[in-house]
């Protein structure tokens, strides 16, 4: 074994865990420093210890509400992602359907989703389903668009190989186009993973009965800014977690993509 291989482990750990931790610690430090330097009251901007204290005050409540938001987020994300990919496959199979429905979908996507939140309550009710629908609405489009882009970007030389082997549409689709589209699909999934949390919180702000969004609403009403920040911190952690989960899945499923794109 050479030196290079023995220190590859620690170096990779430093690169993948050490540096991100350092970045977060630095950001927290600067935040704290600003509050001390300008003597900002915790009502306006709480310092990290205030937020920690708020969390320790109500840990069970916060975790429970985080669980509610996480459920809404992941269920909506899963439905939106599967739906987006499925519709993209449908479009790939039939140009007629694509031509007919794509303008409609693009128009729906152009509507600000936050404006739909009150309507969803009218249509579906003050319940979890309405919140999940909001998440689905936000996740669907990026996955649809990225999957379509991936499916149609198969290079000519691979198409030609399929043609010269007289591969059927399905064979070409399953063995070539789908795999080729995966890296692009993951781009869409990463975008959707962040939008999913945003969607869940928008829904919870409009219908503040449960979830971290409702914690933000009620804590600002009682002027408990540190508690609001504790909820926001949990949302941020959740978002980062979901994003890195998708990234890990990507590395597992498409290890070749990074190699050929560099």
């Amino acid at each position: 074994m050479t030196d290079k291989t023995t220190d590859a482990g620690p170096r990779r750990l430093w690169f993948n865990a050490g540096l991100p931790t350092l970045g977060v610690a630095l950001a927290l430090g600067i935040w704290w420093l600003i509050i001390i330097a300008f003597g900002i009251d915790s009502f306006w901007l709480p310092a990290p210890p205030d937020v920690l204290e708020a969390f320790q005050r109500l840990p069970g409540h916060l975790i429970e509400q985080a669980g509610v938001t996480l459920m809404t987020t992941t269920v909506g994300f899963a439905i939106g992602a599967v739906g987006g990919a499925a519709v993209a496959v449908l479009f790939a199979a039939s140009r007629t359907i694509e031509r007919m429905t794509m303008p409609l979908i693009a128009a729906v996507n152009a509507v600000p989703k936050a404006a739909l939140a009150p309507l969803l309550i009218v249509w579906i009710g003050l319940n979890t389903q309405a919140k999940i629908v909001m998440v689905v609405l936000l996740c669907f489009f990026p996955v649809l668009v990225s999957t379509m882009a991936g499916l149609t970007s198969v290079p000519n030389d691979l198409r030609e190989v399929a043609h010269s082997l007289s591969a059927s549409w399905w064979q070409t689709f399953l063995k070539i186009r789908m795999a080729w589209a995966l890296p692009q699909i993951f781009v869409g999934l990463k975008v959707a993973s962040s939008l999913a949390i945003i969607g869940a919180v928008i829904a919870e702000l409009t219908n503040p009965e449960r979830g971290l969004g409702s914690v933000v609403v009620s804590s600002s009403q009682s002027a408990d800014t540190p508690l609001a920040f504790a909820a926001l911190t949990l949302l941020a952690l959740m978002g980062a977690g979901l994003f890195y989960l998708v990234t890990a899945l990507e590395r597992l499923l498409v290890p070749w993509a990074r190699a050929i794109s560099s």
Partner: protein, 259 residues
């Protein structure tokens, strides 16, 4: 094995029509190695694609083993200029692709894959992904993928042109060995006179656009042939000179006229 009769092909595009091939007549014997050379744009790839059944001719016809070609056939395999491997599949799985597409039984072809990989010196790379291989090795995989079909006819479109000079020579010598071993009929498009003289029984020289068969040159040098010093230097030099002459004597491609 291949009979090309009165073959013409015209492309109609937005910017007008291009006559790529005009009245090609040519027979390729069983087991023959035919090289096709000609200036860029004279229709070599078009000719190959018509023989492969990838595009139809405008006029005339191509017969392979007595049957008129209308679509790609399983006993005609194509190797393209670029390796065109699936980046997510290992070398072995790339070679297996035609077996899967043809719905042949994988188990029956495993040994064949193994033999082809050994023949091309790839056996220790069988489980690597394409991006882990050099360009020359990737093109060898592409050749194996064509040979797994046990083709009667192997069509190759400038298969070595994207490689460096030494790798080209190495692969050309290897292709000669494989051709001698398998006796497959080969149509090999190239820009390299050297490659043509090393590999071919006959060389078809196409004229500039529209591509017509300008000359068929016999290369009667015994095999195995080698690059560099060998017993047939004079014949090689004479054949190369003749091909040079034919290509140079060709009309220079018309400078694109306005419009």
């Amino acid at each position: 094995m291949i009979k090309i009769a009165g073959l013409s092909r015209t492309f109609r595009g937005k910017s007008g029509t291009v006559e790529a091939l005009r009245d090609i007549n040519l027979d390729v014997a069983d087991g023959e190695f035919l090289a096709v050379i000609g200036r860029s744009g004279c229709g070599k790839s078009t000719l190959l694609r018509i023989i492969a059944g990838l595009i139809p001719p405008s006029q005339g016809e191509v017969l392979v083993a007595g049957d008129r070609v209308a679509r790609p056939r399983r006993d005609v395999a194509m190797v393209f200029q670029r390796p065109a491997l699936l980046p997510w599949r290992s070398v072995r799985e790339n070679v297996m692709l035609p077996v899967e597409i043809f719905r042949w039984q994988r188990a029956k072809h495993r040994d064949h894959v193994q033999r082809l990989l050994e023949m091309t010196g790839l056996e220790s790379f069988a489980d690597r992904l394409p991006h882990e291989l050099s360009g020359g090795m990737q093109q060898r995989v592409s050749l194996c993928r064509a040979l797994i079909q046990r083709p009667k006819v192997l069509l190759m479109d400038e298969p070595f042109s994207a490689l460096d000079a030494l790798t080209r020579e190495e692969l050309a010598v290897e292709l000669q060995r494989i051709h001698m071993e398998l006796g497959t009929t080969v149509v090999f498009v190239t820009h390299s006179i050297q490659e043509a003289v090393l590999l071919a029984d006959r060389v078809a020289v196409l004229s500039a656009r529209p591509g017509r068969l300008r000359e068929l040159v016999d290369i009667a040098i015994p095999r195995p042939r080698t690059f560099g010093h060998n017993a047939h230097m004079e014949e090689v030099a004479a054949a190369s000179a003749e091909l040079h002459q034919l290509l140079l004597g060709d009309h220079l491609p018309q400078v694109a006229t306005a419009g």
